[in-house]
């Protein structure tokens, strides 16, 4: 591998999911196909910059670019046999990414990327039995991260990036379990925020121990998305409770994540990788929404997430320069605790299988494919912290989710 000093203009987008959807990591087709490992992988393509900012100096080409998009399909079913309730939600998102890295010198690189994490959305049938908790939620964010990477020795590199997040959310729920307007329509409220920006950072270390094993460590900081002056709109309100449309403030923490992992170059054709992510979900204890209308006041919605980990493994087979194939999987532990299972984030522990391949079309250009399938365990769970007239009420039943994705990307290196 040529050691070149590189200045990469690389913005890294941390596409972790956060409150409001499944945690499906989709930051690059090659790494996704390997179970979304990557913190210890070097010399592949520009996608590595997401997994570890220190990897920039280990890329093989002076200029590395990678761009792609993924179609993500996520479905969830709900049922409760006591009351004969059956509902389902089918959602699709199309996250995409762009990475670019420049090796300024053989010790230094700079990069930039633009990326939208999967449009995490859950939409239930309006007025379904859980409508007092959520009817629909749609969260989107773009993370932009300029990164620098520096080799302190031939085999050890450090990297850092500044993360800028720009995002928005739209959330609708019914006002209570029974409130209707004068015509029998259920009363509901939509909160809408866009252009919310926040900052964070990402630091990492890559250490190549020998020609087989490379270790990586990456830490992404917590990012607090602060909504100020978002819009709250009320619909189908009864005449006596005519809340005027107004504004709200809210803060949602995107938790910090620590990843450690390694890659093992078994031989010239086979590469294995293992990652462990630990996400500090504990920061998400309540979703607090402050309405500017004093008659409504502050809505505190307990979530009480617990910090949790994800175990990943992947394998790559590259028999020639032209073709490489990958397979992988991961086991993702849900941060949701019993009794706090809110149907806006219907997730449970999951096992994912991933696969993919790349094909070199021209000496500089590769096409990357990936596919994933997530299998969630069925769970019987409930949200027990919704309060009405002084009593805590419980809403729950059986939930089962599944998700799969198909992705296409291009890698361009020269």
């Amino acid at each position: 591998m040529k050691k070149i000093l590189s200045i990469s203009l690389l913005s890294l987008i941390a596409a972790n999911s956060f409150a409001g959807g499944y945690r499906i990591s989709l930051q690059g087709q090659r790494q996704l196909a390997m179970g979304h490992t990557g913190v210890g992988i070097i010399g592949q393509n520009a996608e590595s910059l997401f997994f570890n900012p220190a990897s920039g100096t280990f890329l093989k080409s002076k200029w590395s670019f990678s761009a792609g998009a993924t179609a993500l399909f996520s479905n969830v079913k709900f049922q409760n046999s006591i009351y004969n309730w059956s509902n389902s939600s089918e959602n699709m998102g199309t996250p995409f990414y762009f990475y670019g890295n420049y090796q300024a010198t053989d010790r230094f690189s700079v990069g930039l990327a633009v990326y939208t994490p999967f449009g995490s959305s859950v939409e239930w049938q309006q007025d379904w039995p859980g409508s007092h908790l959520v009817n629909s939620i749609d969260l989107q964010a773009i993370f932009i991260q300029p990164t620098v990477s520096y080799k302190i020795t031939d085999n050890i590199s450090i990297g850092a990036g500044l993360i800028y997040v720009n995002g928005g959310v739209t959330f609708n729920r019914n006002l209570s379990r029974s409130m209707i307007d004068d015509y029998g329509n259920r009363s509901d409220v939509t909160i809408d925020a866009s252009g919310v920006s926040a900052w964070g950072y990402n630091v990492g270390v890559t250490a190549r121990l020998d020609e087989y094993v490379t270790l990586g460590v990456n830490y992404r900081s917590q990012i607090d998305m602060k909504v100020e002056g978002g819009e709250a709109k009320f619909h189908d309100m009864p005449g006596f409770l005519n809340y005027a449309d107004g504004k709200f403030d809210a803060t949602m923490p995107l938790p910090a994540e620590l990843t450690i992992g390694l890659s093992y170059q078994i031989n010239e054709k086979w590469l294995a990788a293992f990652d462990y992510n630990y996400t500090f979900w504990k920061a998400y204890d309540n979703l607090v929404i402050e309405f500017d209308n004093p008659a409504i006041g502050t809505s505190v919605n307990p979530r009480n997430y617990k910090s949790s980990g994800t175990l990943r493994g992947g394998l790559q087979f590259a028999p020639s320069e032209k073709f490489s194939a990958r397979v992988g999987g991961y086991y993702d532990i849900s941060p949701v605790q019993d009794g706090y299972f809110a149907p806006e984030t219907p997730r449970n522990d999951a096992i994912a299988g991933t696969a993919g391949f790349s094909y070199k079309i021209t000496p500089k250009l590769d096409v990357d494919f990936s596919a994933t399938a997530l299998h969630f365990k069925q769970t019987k769970n409930s949200y027990d912290h919704y309060k009405e007239d002084g009593s805590y009420l419980s809403f729950g039943g059986d939930y089962r989710s599944s998700a799969y994705s198909l992705g296409l990307g291009l890698s361009y290196n020269f």
């Binding site: 969830v76 009351y83 004969n84 009864p238 391949f357």
Partner: protein, 518 residues
């Protein structure tokens, strides 16, 4: 190369097979069962509680929350047929009430007016015309106001009998012929399953009248009864047996319900016996004035004849009792008048005072007041000051209050009627929804599996707006309350007929109607 490529393409395709989430035990209608019951044709027999009456009247949007209509939706899951109810399409403005030959005959429905924070009749004119005859038997044969024997009365639905007061306006609208009976119209549908909740009016009509009717125990001729009388138990038993025997004559199964105690119904437990605080009366000075110029002298005279307990002096620190007329007290008007004259009161004044206080006493915690009392306390009596304030200086009439002897008659009759319901229904092995017991528990609170606590309280405002079960008339449930009733009946059916029917969540149903203004 191609070999590897095709392997991986195959792997892709494979990963998308069966990606729809599937439950281990999916919930479908087949998950439920009717057990030993047959819900093919469900007919509901009863009074206003069955018809879906609320807020003081029948009205179009309220009727769909009747408990039989809600039950029918659960029955439909396990093969139950369609469920029809008498039409209120002519309630075009959804205000309820009644018209007879174009003249208003019953008031519009009660709503809560936020700007006056009290229940009021909704502004509007009734359009429900009694003489618009539908002549049709419906699955819901609940007739508001019906007593037990009325269900067997020929001509109870005859328009011509409205003039003599022997017909029921609601039954008139849908009776299949002038001289049919409620029971025969019900049977014309060949019910396979029924609910029968009848008997409340046989005793509660008396209670709602404040005990102004007669206890007809011993009089077995109901044609001599007035509407506010308590039915004779033998009359009740004979009627109830006929109803049950007829309903089960073709093998139909069903649920009967018992009659609640009045102490479980907010209509009788909301107005306290002692709401007259110094503040309500108009200040400490007013209290002192009343004591020295009116209550004091009267009490003194009464004490002298051994009846001093009838009147209490008012306190400035606690709530004072309402002044009522108690017809069971000895009339001491003459004694009072004579004593007042002896104390140099002018003869006319003494006569008036004697008349007013002859059978008056202050209420105790053993007295119960009807809901409407709160609206008339302190309003003008026919007399000038100081005897011009109803319930304060002028005693409330009998119709506002249930004194202990009246309550005792109600309790005795309720218990007798319930004993009859238990034994007649038990002998036919019917399911019994003990609404008497359920509503008694409700007064101290019942917690459902969703975590919500329900009580028998009247609407208090936003603090209990999501959990109040009674409508604004204080007697009938609101939609959420009827869902509560339906849910309790579903539980009884599941237990007794070994069915597996889905339950309801009362909290998902609307409560009382609140309006910004009226």
């Amino acid at each position: 190369m191609k070999k590897y490529q095709s392997i991986f393409l195959a792997a892709f395709a494979f990963s998308f097979v069966a990606c729809e989430p599937e439950f281990e035990n999916p919930v479908t209608n087949e998950s439920y069962s009717r057990g030993e019951a047959d819900f093919t044709t469900y007919v509901a027999l009863g009074n206003s509680l069955t018809a879906g009456y609320m807020d003081g009247t029948m009205y179009r949007s309220g009727q769909r929350y009747s408990f039989p209509n809600l039950l029918a939706k659960q029955f439909a899951v396990v093969g139950g047929g369609s469920f029809t109810q008498p039409s209120f399409n002519d309630d075009v403005n959804d205000v309820g009430g009644l018209l007879f030959m174009g003249q208003p005959a019953a008031a519009t429905r009660l709503i809560l007016n936020m700007s006056t924070s009290g229940p009021e009749n909704l502004t509007g004119t009734p359009t429900i015309e009694i003489s618009d005859l539908q002549a049709k038997a419906y699955n819901n044969m609940g007739v508001p106001g019906a007593k037990s024997f009325h269900l067997l009365a020929s001509g109870y639905g005859n328009l011509a009998n409205m003039a003599t007061g022997t017909a029921n306006p609601y039954f008139v609208r849908h009776a299949t012929s002038p001289n049919t009976t409620v029971l025969s119209d019900a049977m014309s549908l060949n019910p396979t399953f029924f609910t029968n909740w009848i008997g409340a009016n046989d005793v509660l009509a008396y209670a709602l009248s404040g005990g102004t009717g007669e206890n007809q125990e011993g009089n077995t001729d109901p044609s001599t009864y007035s509407s506010n009388d308590i039915t004779d138990p033998q009359v009740f038993e004979a009627a109830y047996k006929t109803i049950i025997n007829t309903l089960t004559s073709n093998g139909a199964k069903g649920v009967v319900a018992t009659i609640p105690d009045i102490t479980s119904i907010p209509h009788f437990t909301t107005v306290p016996y002692n709401p007259l605080t110094a503040e309500v009366l108009g200040g400490e000075a007013v209290v002192t004035q009343l004591n020295t110029s009116l209550l004091g002298p009267i009490k003194q005279i009464l004490t002298a004849i051994g009846e001093g307990d009838r009147i209490q002096l008012y306190s400035t620190t606690s709530g004072n009792p309402l002044l009522i007329t108690d017809k069971t007290l000895t009339d001491v008007s003459a004694t009072l008048t004579a004593a007042l004259i002896a104390n140099n009161y002018p003869a006319e004044t003494a006569a008036v005072l004697g008349q007013v206080f002859g059978r008056a006493r202050h209420a105790t915690r053993s007295d119960l007041f009807v809901l409407g009392t709160s609206g008339i306390i302190g309003t003008a009596s026919a007399l000038p000051s100081p005897l011009d304030k109803l319930g304060v200086t002028f005693p409330l009439e009998d119709k506002y209050v249930l004194i202990p002897s009246e309550q005792q008659q109600i309790k005795t009759a309720t218990d007798k009627f319930n004993d009859i319901i238990w034994s007649v229904s038990g002998s036919k092995k019917l399911a019994i929804a003990d609404m008497n017991a359920i509503m008694r528990y409700l007064t101290t609170g019942i917690r459902l599996s969703d975590g919500q606590w329900y009580t028998a309280d009247y609407f208090k405002g936003t603090e209990n707006m999501n959990k109040v079960l009674f409508s604004l008339d204080g007697v009938h449930p609101n939609p959420r309350g009827y869902a509560f009733v339906a849910n309790e009946i579903v539980k009884v059916i599941n237990e007794h007929y070994k069915s597996n029917l889905p339950l309801l969540v009362p909290g998902n149903y609307p409560g009382v109607t609140i309006k910004a203004s009226n």
